[in-house]
């Protein structure tokens, strides 16, 4: 059975199943959310208005049996944070279940005229519109628990209080294998776009669903084998390798060593407390607190069934029980080093608060750091920082400012050092010390985003080649290649972390493309990854242009040109002309 588009109109509470039109038939995941946004969302619309939509799409291979680490769900639309196009993707349970219901995408549009809130229950018979009144004002931990009881073994997509208040830093939560919140489509405020539609939660029950058809089983199987072998043989992703042993926070010490760990609101590139919030330290806490048989803390946690990398963790409280999943590199940095906080328990509690209230951790940590610089509280004040989440939860005026993210907070507190591009704050890599990632921050249609073109692989990790992070040369081309390859991988449904083994192991790269070819029946090979990625980037770029973005929005903040960053004492030196080259092909042929 060919896949369908499920269009849910919240104005008249109507759900319709549509054939996938020819123009979208090649796409899935990010490519599909961006294509639908490009075709159906007015670029100049207000992100919180009636003309924006929330598009949800699993990847090409998501929901197929045994494609490794492929459960991603893309969430797209126009971002309240950046004002441009957005795709944020998450792991957790939703992707596989949406795909198994035979859906290519869900388009959520309109908004209830009666101002009511709804829980949508998706199953093989259609969509039920349930009154969400019992869930209102609640955080994601409680929501997952309540809905998990009524609808066991389902995926739960939801928004916390931040999404209800339509704050620009509201994320969308997806439950994980233990039915906890925390797998977030965090970036760009898409939780507010869901809130505008009057949808508090979406329950996905795939029982009896048609499943995902595989057009060419032989090709799929051959590709799956190559990809799996690459993942399980690479030192980073194999059993006992770096990611399952230490999680993404394996990077804290190394980026710190390279002088690229933004500290105290991007004022220096090394944090004296880095080791205390590192992956090694997280592993040690788990080891110490989780000796008992009923302990819940663990490294090597899979955020959805079928992940064979398992970079996630469950950070335990003092008694070894689940406090939060997961403390990532980005969270340890944003809520730790960038706020001058070196206490992992505070970092973990704040991460839990983000997951509960429904905030993106990167934007939240940056916002607190900016507020610290603005004098609201001192750098290093873990208790004070933790309290701020309650302000957001309650919707106090201060909480609403914090929930708007970095730029609004910087204005409220008169701060000049504002680490954003296109309204979205930078993740855990200092562009002055790691130039290629700065090109990605500046030029990706998403606003400052490391995952959009992860040049850290060759610049720091020696994956996919080795490049000096401190030099400017070649970084524009490097970033574009990574941005294009990423746009493709974001459309496959594979976790982006498969990129590390397949950048080093060529058969894995070919295998990934073969699985896509096998599922879809399209003639896709490893050579098509970058060109197809560029097609996706072009749609996104054009949407932003029509939304009013000019090349002046592809810039690194002024303070990074003015202030030298210790310890290497470097400024941002890549020229505007070089930045403008990155996307010049959009209008000048390829």
């Amino acid at each position: 059975m060919p896949k369908k588009i499920l269009r849910i109109n919240m104005t008249d509470k109507k759900a319709t199943y549509e054939d996938v039109p020819e123009k979208w038939s090649r796409w899935a995941g990010r490519a599909l959310t961006s294509a639908i946004t490009f075709d159906e969302v007015e670029p100049t619309c207000h992100p919180l208005g009636p003309n924006n939509k929330l598009v949800i799409a699993p990847g090409w291979v998501t929901g197929t049996p045994a494609a490794p680490s492929s459960g991603r769900t893309s969430f797209g639309g126009k971002s309240p944070l950046t004002g441009g196009i957005k795709e944020a993707n998450a792991g957790g349970l939703s992707g596989q279940k949406i795909a198994k219901l035979g859906l290519a995408a869900i388009i959520l549009e309109g908004h209830p005229k009666d101002g009511k809130w709804y829980t949508l229950v998706l199953n093989r018979n259609g969509v039920e519109f349930k009154d969400a009144a019992p869930l209102m004002g609640k955080g994601m931990y409680e929501i997952d628990e309540i809905l998990g009881k009524t609808y066991p073994n389902t995926a739960i997509i939801g928004i916390g209080q931040a999404g209800e208040m339509k704050l620009s830093n509201a994320g969308i939560s997806v439950n994980d294998s233990e039915n906890h919140p925390g797998r977030y489509a965090g970036r760009g405020g898409m939780g507010a776009v869901m809130g505008v539609r009057g949808v508090k939660a979406i329950v996905v029950d795939d029982t009896g669903g048609p499943g995902v058809e595989i057009a060419d089983k032989e090709t799929f199987e051959a590709g799956r084998k190559k990809l799996t072998e690459a993942i399980l043989s690479h030192d980073l992703t194999k059993k006992g390798g770096g990611l399952p042993s230490y999680g993404t926070a394996i990077l804290v010490n190394i980026i710190n060593e390279a002088g690229g760990l933004p500290t105290r609101n991007f004022s220096t590139g090394q944090f004296e407390g880095a080791a205390k919030i590192s992956g090694e330290a997280i592993a040690e806490v788990i080891e110490q607190r989780c000796q008992g048989a009923d302990s819940e803390g663990t490294m090597g946690h899979a955020c959805h069934p079928g992940c064979i990398i398992k970079c996630s963790n469950v950070y335990p409280d003092e008694s070894g029980k689940h406090l939060v999943s997961c403390v990532e590199y980005e969270t340890a940095w944003a809520l730790g080093a960038n706020c001058g906080i070196d206490d992992l328990d505070y970092v973990a509690q704040m991460t839990r608060e983000c997951n509960d209230v429904g905030l993106d951790t990167i934007e939240a940590g940056n916002t607190i750091a900016v507020a610290m610089e603005g004098g609201l509280l001192e750098f290093g004040d873990g208790a004070g920082a933790l309290n701020l989440f309650d302000e957001v939860r309650k919707g106090t005026p201060l909480g609403r400012i914090i929930g708007q993210g970095v730029e609004a907070t910087a204005k409220a507190f008169g701060v000049y050092r504002v680490p954003t591009v296109k309204g979205q704050s930078m993740p855990a890599y200092e562009p002055r010390a790691i130039k290629g990632i700065g090109v990605t921050y500046a030029t990706t249609p998403m606003g400052a985003d490391h995952t959009a073109g992860y040049t850290i692989a060759p610049e720091i990790a020696g994956v996919g080649g080795k490049v000096d992070p401190l030099t400017d040369e070649g970084k524009a081309d490097l970033s574009l290649t990574f941005q294009a390859a990423t746009a493709f991988i974001d459309s496959t449904g594979y976790c982006l972390f498969i990129a590390f083994p397949i950048l080093d192991i060529a058969t894995g790269w070919a295998g990934m493309a073969e699985t896509v070819a096998g599922v879809t029946g399209m003639a896709v090979t490893g050579d098509d990854v970058v060109p197809m990625g560029k097609e996706i980037l072009k749609m996104e770029r054009l949407f932003n242009e029509q939304a009013g973005f000019t090349s002046e929005r592809d810039r690194i903040p002024e303070f990074m040109r003015e202030e030298a960053l210790p310890p290497h004492n470097v400024t941002w030196t890549i020229t505007n002309e070089e930045l403008d080259q990155v996307y010049s092909w959009v209008h000048n042929g390829s």
Partner: protein, 79 residues
Amino acid sequence: MQIDVRVFATLRRYVPELGVGETIKMDVESGTTLVEILDHLNLPREEVKIVMRNGRQADLDDAVQEGDRIAFVPAIAGG
């Protein structure tokens, strides 16, 4: 002369006595190369993916200098 050596992530399995965040202080002769230090610490060469000297990428054949801060890094990446 004195140098500081840091060993990260999975490589720490070869220096089990080293606590998180601790540094190995080493006395070495001038002209000592990074590969000699790596061998001295019994770190398997094939597991060392990156070597840093004072926060910059270095080559295994580079000689160290007084006060250098050296780091041995295995396969790492993340998000």
